[in-house]
Each structure stands twice: as C-alpha cells, then as structure tokens.
Symmetry: C2
C-alpha cells in the first residue's frame, strides 16, 4: 500500500466523513485513506512494505490459495460484521484443505457516500479477527464506485497457506462406511442475518457463528484420526456441501435428522420463515468425514476444543451410484436432501 | 469450484439469459453457472479440483501476493475489457517485484440482470489473457448482488508468484544519480476509456495498452543491468507512481518533458479534456529506475522486446530532502509534478 505526504491535508474525519470518489483514484486522498484508516488498523511489516505486492516468507510445501467475495447484507449483524466474516471465511477455506493459513489479501469496493466511521469499524473488526487468528492482511487494494453502484462495502479476501505433502482432505475422498460429523449446531450465521433483515424480535438472540476454524482443525489432525474430507458448510449449508462431496466422491450419504444439532431458537426462526436449517449458511462450523474406526477419537478431539463442544456424528457414507444424500427423519421416514435449485438466502456472506 | 448434477436443468442461455440472484446462492443454478460459463472457459487442472481452495505446486522462494479490485467502466473498451485487464493488472503487480507470476485467483461480483453473453465474453477474454501469459486462474468465487447494488461485474484478481532471495525492485531503492526509464508511450489506457466515455470521435483510435509485462521484465533482468526499482504506473499515472517512489526512497526526481513518449492522438485527447498525461493510467507500461552505468544496456534490452519498443529515458534521481518530483518543460521552465490531491479519472481500472 502507499503512504501519504503528511501534513498536506487534514486528518480523515471518522465521525462525519464519507467515502468520496477521490478516495479511489490513486492520488493523495486515497493515500490518506490507506494510511490513516487501513494501515493504522491492519498494520504489519508486510503491509508496511508499501508496494503493490507483498513479498512474504514461504515455508516449503504446496501453496493453498482461496478467494471469496463478501457481499453480506446487512454489513453489521449479531455476532459479527463483514470485516471479521471476510477474514474467517477465507481462513476456513484454506484450513479445510489441511493447510496452515499464512497470509490474507484484502480488496475493498467502497460505495461513494459510505460513512468513514463504519468503514473504520469494519477494518478494526477485520484487524482483530486477523490478529486473533495469527494470519496477517499482507496486502490490499481499495476502489470507489459511485452511489448506486455498490452497497456500502464489498470485501474480497484471498488466503494463502501451505500444506505438507500427504495432507489431503479434498471432497473426493469419502468412502462407503465413513462417518459424517459436524462441529456444532448449524444454521446460526444465516439465521442471525435473516432475523436482522426480517426484524424477527423473537429471534434477536441468534448470533452468527463466524469463527476461524484452523485451531480446531489442527486439534482434529493431532488426534491422528483418518480424516477423509473436511469442508465448511457456508452458502447452501450442510445439505449443499454434502451433496458436493457425495458427487465428488461418487458415494451416497444417510443423515439422521435427530442427530443434527440445531439450537431451539434457530429451529423456531427457520420454521417461522419456512427455511430448512440444512440449507442455511454456517460461518464457523465444519463437516468432517472420517474412517469408521476413528470416529470416536475424532469426535472426542472435536468436543475437547472450544469450537467443537457440540460436535456430533450426523450420518454415514454408503455406496450409491446416484450420489443421493438422504435423511432418516425424526418420524422414521426417509427423504432426499436434494440440491437446492435456486435461491434460499441471498447475500448471506 | 463446484460441479453440477448434469441433466437436471437446461443449459445456460448465453444469448438471452441474464444473471439472477439464484446464480449466487450456492445451489444448483450457481453450480451450473460455474461449470458451464466459468470452468469451461478458464478450465485447468487446478480449477478442476472442485474444492473451495486450490492446492498448488510451489517452487522454493519467497511468496509474492498482490490483489486488485477491478471496477472499470465501461466494461468493454478499445483494446480490451475488464476480463483481460484484471489478468494483466495483477500479473504486472506481481512481476514488478521481480517475481515469476504463478497463479491467479478471481472473484466476481455480478449484478442481477447482467447479460450472460457479456459475462461469457469477459470470462473468455480473461481465459485468453491468462493462457497467453501462462498464469492459470487456479481458484475463484462468484457472488450476485441485486440490481442497483453493482455495475454489471466487478472482478477482484489476486496473484501469487515466487521470487528468489536477492531479487528486490521495491520502491525504496532509488538513489541519487539513477536514471528513470519508461517502457513506452504513456496514458493510453486511461484515454481509451475516457474517449469512449466522452464519445470523443477524434480519439476513437486510441487503444488501451493493457498487457502482461512479465516477459518484458524477464528480458530486462536477463540484461544484467542493476535495476533498482520496477513499478507499473496504473491509477494516478507516471506522476503518482514516481511520487510514491521518491517518497519511499527519500529522493527527488527530475523529468524531461521532451523525453516523455506520448502518442499525438493521446496528447490531443488529453488537451481536449484538460488532462495531464502524466496522471493518466497505464496498464501495459512500466517505470524502471536503474544505476546510471547500466542505463544504456537496460534501454537496449527494453527496446528489443515487443512491449518496450518505444522505451525511453525520461529523467534522473537526485538528492532532495523534500522528495519533490520536478520536470523541465519543453519551454525550458521547471515545474513540480505534485501528487494529485483527489480525483482525476474515476473507475479507470
């Protein structure tokens, strides 16, 4: 990022100031925004290099790269905001590959007129999440678009990590007989957003589960269990993620509805809005598929970690040429947990 | 990226179809968009892994990471479009660090209602640029926002490269006595965009210079010249980039106006619009600062490359505690080439 020639302009007004088009055009106003608002909060030695790219130490291993645009609406929600969400989501996408997340890159698309104070709050939340996770924002970019061409702020984060030869938890490794685990109660991120959007009073206590999962994954790996697949069930929820894995691995799956951890207020809000928690986004949960003989050991390792306390075995993998994900319902019936064809929750992350 | 369960839905209609909210919500419509529109064009073994992150071979060395949001308007312009621009811009940010660009990550923010045919053209252009440059798009993400919350398509590209220990062309290495070179005629990208926006008939022949510069940089490095600094003068143009370098290195600079390569139609369009070509964005040019004794060798190496044929020595570095960039004008006067305080050209890249 660039620095600014100090003393030439007044400090940014974080109380009353707003983003304007000058903040995106490469001149002094942009340099000031980057220095006073971004670098001051996200500051680290890599960002401080002040070039358009960061040069970073890289341990030996394969590079893991993941990118996600974050367009969540509203920007602030119970349990988090777009800033920490953008950090957690990308760290998780890197971590579920078995990789150690090392660095983040962050690009901001700001809408003209967006309050600088809100932007500062978002960047602070991002900085805190990155610092807590030990994964610095090493490089960034800022663009400004006219009012009516954005929605406050969009953030794309890209994560880089390193994975040793041999670690492989990709979606194509599930086998018949494997067990399916989830790290905790589901649908909380999506329902926190929906409760806020729909002003559901009775659901005001639902809090997003947004969290970085690399610590939990490290604990799971340390258990020595033969983990086949790791994946974080974000957009589309548990149902979509399991369908993807079933397809990639060429297997079928059978879930037990009674085993699915769902908090009562989340279940109530889902019912009220006609949503199925299986399809609602999570931002701090993971699905693990594990060899049957290691299921208990893995479950114990997950439950021993603060982010896995409510972990549960929710189903198993079997042969199925059609790659169906099915569920035994609490009433003893069976239904297919299909792909969702279209939209359930727009702009949830 | 994800794959789709074939045969369940009709193929995408690239002639009449438009982006709708279902294309961003993680279900089958999104999987179809990714498979039929993105993966088919950008396809490579890494994207084909089908996970939320790509696992990539990494040669030994330091990691170079750079990210850029692309919000250029209009999306299609003489000489290019947002797709190839997003590839070139990020490759160049990695390459000017002396690194070999290895991989790209691409995240798309699509506006509801955007024609799928236009999106396909953009992705094709991106694929061609990536393939020509030998830098695959290894992973990606797609989000959709409501009409009026975007502007067709925004693309954030992140580049990962590798740089050997010792290669260092960062902005803080310029020293008094060094020479400043530019790889060709300036201000073409910005003026191609402006000519289209302002419907300047007489400037309709101006074509963006968008290009990937890593080949040129490899040729420059092979010359053995003691290159101090490399930088691509994009947003804010040559003037802003040189001010940044002057500040980072703690030096002053003196340019020769008569030495600046500017095509006559670009100069005319700038004059008509009241713009100074020194501040207008380039997307296929670089600035190099080199030790004086190696200036001729570097210039020759640049001019021997197709992207450096019009390379020129445009000034020199000297001591200046105030870090001013100045210019000797064609009339023999001197003026300060200051930072631009605000906006010159919004949404130029």
């Amino acid at each position: 990022m660039k620095d600014v020639r100090k003393g030439y302009i007044r400090p940014l007004d974080l109380r009353q100031g707003r983003v304007d088009m000058t903040h995106g055009s490469g001149g002094r106003a942009m340099a000031q925004l980057i220095e006073e608002l971004f670098a001051r909060r996200l500051g680290n030695a890599y960002l401080g290099q002040g070039n358009d790219a960061a040069v970073l130490p890289m341990p030996p291993g394969r590079l893991v790269l993941s990118t996600d645009a974050h367009v969540v609406s509203p920007l602030f929600f119970p349990g988090g905001d777009i800033g920490c969400l953008a950090v957690h989501g990308t760290i998780n996408d890197v971590a579920v590959m078995g990789a150690r997340p090392l660095y983040l890159a962050a690009s901001f698309i700001l809408e003209e007129g967006f309050p600088l104070g809100d932007l500062a709050r978002i960047v602070e939340s991002m900085a805190r999440a990155a610092s807590d996770a030990g994964v610095p924002v090493a490089t960034g970019d800022t663009k400004v678009v006219e009012q009516g061409k954005g929605d406050g702020v969009y953030i794309t984060t890209t994560g880089a990590g390193v994975v040793a030869e041999g670690a492989d938890y990709a979606g194509d490794r599930a086998r018949a007989g494997d067990r399916i685990l989830v790290s905790g109660s589901i649908a909380e991120h999506g329902m926190a957003i929906m409760a806020q959007r729909e002003s559901l009073g009775f659901a005001a206590n639902i809090v997003s589960d947004t969290a970085a999962l690399h610590g939990l994954i490290a604990a799971m790996r340390a258990s020595g269990a033969a983990i086949r697949v790791l994946r974080d069930p974000t957009r589309g929820g548990v149902a979509t993620t399991l369908n993807e894995i079933a397809r990639q691995s060429g297997v079928g799956m059978m879930l037990q509805e009674s085993a699915l951890p769902v908090q009562p207020e989340v279940a109530a809000a889902c019912e009220f809005l006609g949503l199925d928690p299986l399809y609602v986004a999570n931002e701090g949960k993971l699905l693990a598929i594990v060899a049957p003989q290691d299921c208990d050991a893995l479950l114990a390792a997950m439950q021993a970690h603060p982010l896995g306390r409510r972990a549960a075995v929710i189903g198993s993998v079997h042969q199925d040429a059609q790659h169906f994900v099915q569920m035994t319902t609490t009433f003893g019936g069976r239904r297919i947990v299909d792909w969702l064809s279209g939209e359930q929750l727009p702009r949830i992350c």
